[in-house]
Symmetry: C2
DNA sequence: GTATAAACTTAGATGTATCTAACAAATAAG
DNA sequence: CTTATTTGTTAGATACATCTAAGTTTATAC
């Protein structure tokens, strides 16, 4: 039996949003999805009805939403296209990492496997996008490395910034202004227990205080202590 | 008074189709437009109503359709994005000229002036796309060079292929198979008056018979006779 | 110059994607 | 454990983009 079923851009956006909101957890509340997509609750409801019929989500009345296996794969492939595009824009077209999300948000819906595989080839099959997020492979499998947040690290921790949690233009411009980019070495000099502000030493020379809000969005790895 | 009015992809496709069908002439018949877009007549009708209200087309009942000045500009800017994309795909991503139309058809709707201007810059502000069609400038102005068709040339004419009339994959693959590409020198050896077939000498060495259908789609310039 | 054919228009229907208003269920608060 | 609040659902409305069926106008043919 042969199925040729194409999803609208809108449907793709719902799948993507559910995928991203269920990162780590298994389900998402309709309310959360509605806020994430900027649509009202009944809209979520009618779209879930459609995606349910297509076998892409699981959802029973008054219960949270999750993706089926095929929904997950479909979402991962859209995210693959999004992240390859972001990488292409940064590496091959000299865009800043703060400029690429909006463009990739549109490019990701282009129907042309060869277009994205050409990007992939030109980029040498990158494993991460410019914000440090993993790029799913052609089968929709994605490395689920769960980097800790800077805000969860303790005093004296020696770290490297490997990803950001959020690709909003404002946040990335904030980081640019402070010359904070992926790969940067950081040491936690102090943590203010009252508000979660952290004082960080960058590259062993520059010292700066970062708010909890910012520290929540910076993902790090422990630096090899043998070094 | 401030207007922020965005057109849907569908509207953009109508504007583009009208622009291309009114190349050289001033109007297009609704029927022609309907066939070109693959929609039924009433669909044309209701879209014309909308584009009329937006001041993008001129149309009165039972009369042909034309673009207003602002409709023309808008269409030209979409075509600019399409043709820049085609050029980018060929020059920077190593696609064949027969592969790019379908992809550009989708990319042209992306809303990001900087994305296309970056392409333009990387390409060195090209004046033609890979099929020899002029690329409109940022103001929507387009060089209207009207190259003659090969089929309108006479015996013994010495020519250079400068553009094709049609970017369909099948036609371009047909040309690829015969190693016919832009810039190729051609001499008309004979014209069959019965069916319009032409015998052409390519690059002063290779001889081939081309059907009228093909000759209608090949656009040429007269080679400088002083050469 | 009427008859016929082709092109065009109107009216009304369908499916997508959204909304508001009103109602129902689940959760939180007292 | 009842009440209030939040969350979720249903029903019905709107706008877009399309269709079919039926009627109208223009063009073509004889």
């Amino acid at each position: 039996m042969y199925f040729c079923f194409v999803n609208s851009n809108t449907e793709e956006n719902y799948l993507k949003a559910i995928f991203l909101l269920t990162d780590g957890v298994s389900e998402v509340q309709p309310k959360e999805l509605s806020e994430s997509l900027g649509v009202k609750m009944p809209t979520i409801n009618s779209m879930m009805k459609r995606l349910l019929e297509k076998g892409l989500v699981e959802h029973t009345s008054y219960r949270p939403i999750s993706l089926t296996k095929s929904g997950k794969k479909m979402a991962a492939l859209i995210i693959r296209k999004h992240r390859l595009t972001e990488m292409f824009l940064v590496e091959k077209m000299e865009f800043g990492w703060e400029e690429v999300h909006e463009i990739a948000e549109q490019v990701e819906h282009i129907k042309s496997p060869i277009f994205f595989e050409k990007m992939n080839e030109m980029l040498g099959s990158p494993k991460q996008d410019p914000h440090g997020s993993s790029i799913p492979d052609l089968n929709g499998n994605i490395d689920n490395v769960n980097y800790p947040k800077l805000s969860d690290c303790e005093k004296n921790a020696e770290l490297r910034l490997v990803a950001v949690n959020n690709s909003s233009e404002d946040f990335l411009k904030f980081l640019n202004a402070r010359k904070i980019s992926l790969g940067l070495r950081m040491k936690v000099l102090s943590v203010e227990s009252f508000d979660g502000n952290m004082t960080i030493l960058f590259n062993e020379k520059r010292e700066e205080v970062l708010s909890k809000i910012v520290c929540d969005r910076l993902l790090v790895t422990q630096l090899n202590p043998s070094k």
